[in-house]
Amino acid sequence: MAMRHSLAERTGAYVIASGFAIFAAFPLLWTLLTSLKIERDIIARGIRLLPSPATLANYVSVWTQSNLPALMWNSTVTAALTVITCVAAGTLASYSVSRQRFRGRPQFLLFYLVLRMFPLVLMVIPLFVILRAVGLLDTRTGLALAYTGFQLPIFIWMMKGFFDVIPGELEEAAYIDGCTRLGAMWLVVLPLVRGGLFSCAVFIGIGAWNEYLFALMLTTSVGSRTWPVGLQLMVGEFQLPWGTLCAGGVLSILPVLALFAFVQRTMVRGLAAGAVKG
């Protein structure tokens, strides 16, 4: 709303907005604070906000005494494979449904939309059997293939929002200049959606980095296990101390925060466009 508001109204808006920001951020801040505390302070009853003395021992122990580095490397490889496949196949598909006119186009759009609503459990159970049959169970490639499946429809719908806003005259002008349709796509349209493409890629990457359920089912060994599965296993099996767990949590969300901060504005537009077209 771009209009004048009374002081009371503005104060109210500040109170509510800040309240939500605190509600959203506090658990994350608490993770950070806990990761810097010594064990005695963590298990003490009562309210103790700040770490005193502050320590980095939890970070040292989670990095050197668990296999978190290897787990995070597996997640990186899996996420990268997912992003590359989604960007390559999804950009072409999204371009097609957004900027080409052809028979069956609404049906293809509906198809990709309905795919987003397939139950993940119904996919992950047979994927276990299928990937085992082709030797891709417990590999990063197999997991990335599974991720690509359910991320691709989201990617196509998000990218469509960025493609849709480009005026069609641009391509027509390119055709008149003798450009082929391939040329118009590659030289005229794709450079214009670079920002959107990047933010959609980040969105897919964060999704693959965070994913837990498929990774739990489809990876079993340290060679391919991703960090969410590894961290949760440590919690369950080795009764990971809270401080160490929080340090692991902070380390694993750092890449997410960094990437998110980098692209949040474009990504927000893409999410809004891709999720609901109102």
């Binding site: 709303m1 771009a2 209009m3 109204e9 503005r10 907005a17 800040s18 939500f20 959203a24 658990p27 963590i42 298990i43 009853r45 309210i47 196949a89 097609s96 052809f102 609404p106 293809f108 939309l113 309905v114 795919l115 609503m117 139950p119 459990v121 119904l122 996919m123 992950v124 159970i125 047979p126 276990f128 059997v129 299928i130 293939l145 499946g149 691709l152 003798g178 450009c179 082929t180 040329g183 590659w186 030289l187 980095w209 965070n210 359920l213 089912m217 949760q232 809270w242 767990l245 949590g249 694993s252 969300i253 925060l257 949040q264 927000v268 809004a272 999720a275 609901v276 077209k277 109102g278």
Partner: protein
């Protein structure tokens, strides 16, 4: 410079028509009627391999006896045996009931929180852009971290929430929220609401930005109160977004058992057992893929009803 080089690469082959390079073939292919379909092809192959084929395999499993840890049993068809067992399984009915509670309560709580946050953030006062980004953060947090940090906050020995509630006199003593059958579900709903309300805040804020200022000005002239502005201007403008986002979120809540898996694993007892979690446990713990398949097929049918509602409600294909 880079632009020119790329341009040459595509147009050159057209001039030298006798050298059929890959680029030229692709360029001439792009002039044909099959081009839009060719662009779709890679994605269609991928979703076929990773979604369609597994889904139909899963439906096939549901008609078979598939117990992967029992090599002595065959994996032949037993047709509707899994569905019969399911019908008689009290845990199925309980998790169906829990699913309804879980999905409805969480989605509505998230909608309420997201609406309030969006209404406040729509004022566009100094600093609100930063606040809006902070509000979005939980949506991008991995469930493993979100689940564990809330488990710490709610812990019955060291949890901060217990400490605060005891301090202000609401509670007499620390409470084991997630281990109490009466409180585990509400606690899990709170955690999921924290995780998911930014989704609504984001979409509703985008919707509010689209409300024309003229409407607000007219309302201001009429001396409309905040409540009137909400009911008569903002709410009607957001109707489509509200319906669409609630259905979409309900689908993803029905679909994904991750957070409950981390937080409660369906317990204590079966108090937080939902359908997706039950199906996953049947497959992951008991290797009973046939039964898990039948449970997922039931979910599939429920989800298809929900997505039909979504498509109808959102008019998502209206101008497509």
């Amino acid at each position: 410079m880079g632009q020119y080089r790329q341009r040459d690469r595509v147009t050159l082959p057209l001039q030298h028509r006798h050298t059929p390079t890959f680029g030229r073939r692709l360029a001439s292919l792009s002039e044909g009627p099959a081009w839009p379909y060719l662009l779709l092809l890679p994605s269609l192959v991928l979703v076929f391999v990773a979604i369609i084929y597994p889904t139909f395999t899963g439906i096939d499993f549901s008609f078979r006896q598939m117990r992967l840890n029992r090599m002595d049993l065959s994996t032949g068809y037993n047709w509707f045996r899994n569905y019969e067992l399911l019908w008689q399984d009290p845990v199925f009915w309980l998790s169906l009931k829990n699913t309804v509670v879980w999905v409805l309560a969480t989605a509505l709580l998230e909608l309420a929180l997201g609406m309030l946050a969006a209404l406040a953030l729509d004022y566009e006062l100094p600093g609100f852009r930063v606040l809006a980004v902070i509000v979005l953060l939980p949506w991008f947090m991995p469930v493993v971290v979100a689940g564990n940090i809330w488990a710490l906050l709610l812990d019955f020995r060291v949890g901060l929430i217990n400490a605060i509630l005891v301090n202000i006199g609401v509670l007499d003593d620390y409470k084991a929220w997630l281990a109490d059958p009466a409180w585990a579900m509400p606690a899990a709903i709170l955690v999921e609401a924290w995780h998911g309300f930014p989704f609504f805040a984001l979409l509703l804020l985008a919707g509010l930005k689209g409300v024309p200022d003229a409407l607000y000005e007219a309302a201001a002239v009429d001396g409309a109160s905040l409540w009137h502005r909400f009911v008569h201007i903002q709410l009607p403008s957001l109707r489509t977004i509200i319906v669409a986002s609630v259905v979409l979120r309900a689908i993803s809540l029905m679909n994904a058992p991750d957070l409950l898996l981390v937080l409660t694993d369906g317990g204590p007892g079966r108090s937080t057992e939902v359908l997706s979690l039950y199906a996953f446990q049947k497959a992951y713990r008991e290797f009973n893929f046939g039964y898990a398949g039948a449970l997922s097929v039931v979910m599939f049918l429920l989800l298809m009803v929900a997505s039909f509602l979504y498509v109808r409600a959102s008019n998502v294909l209206k101008e497509a």
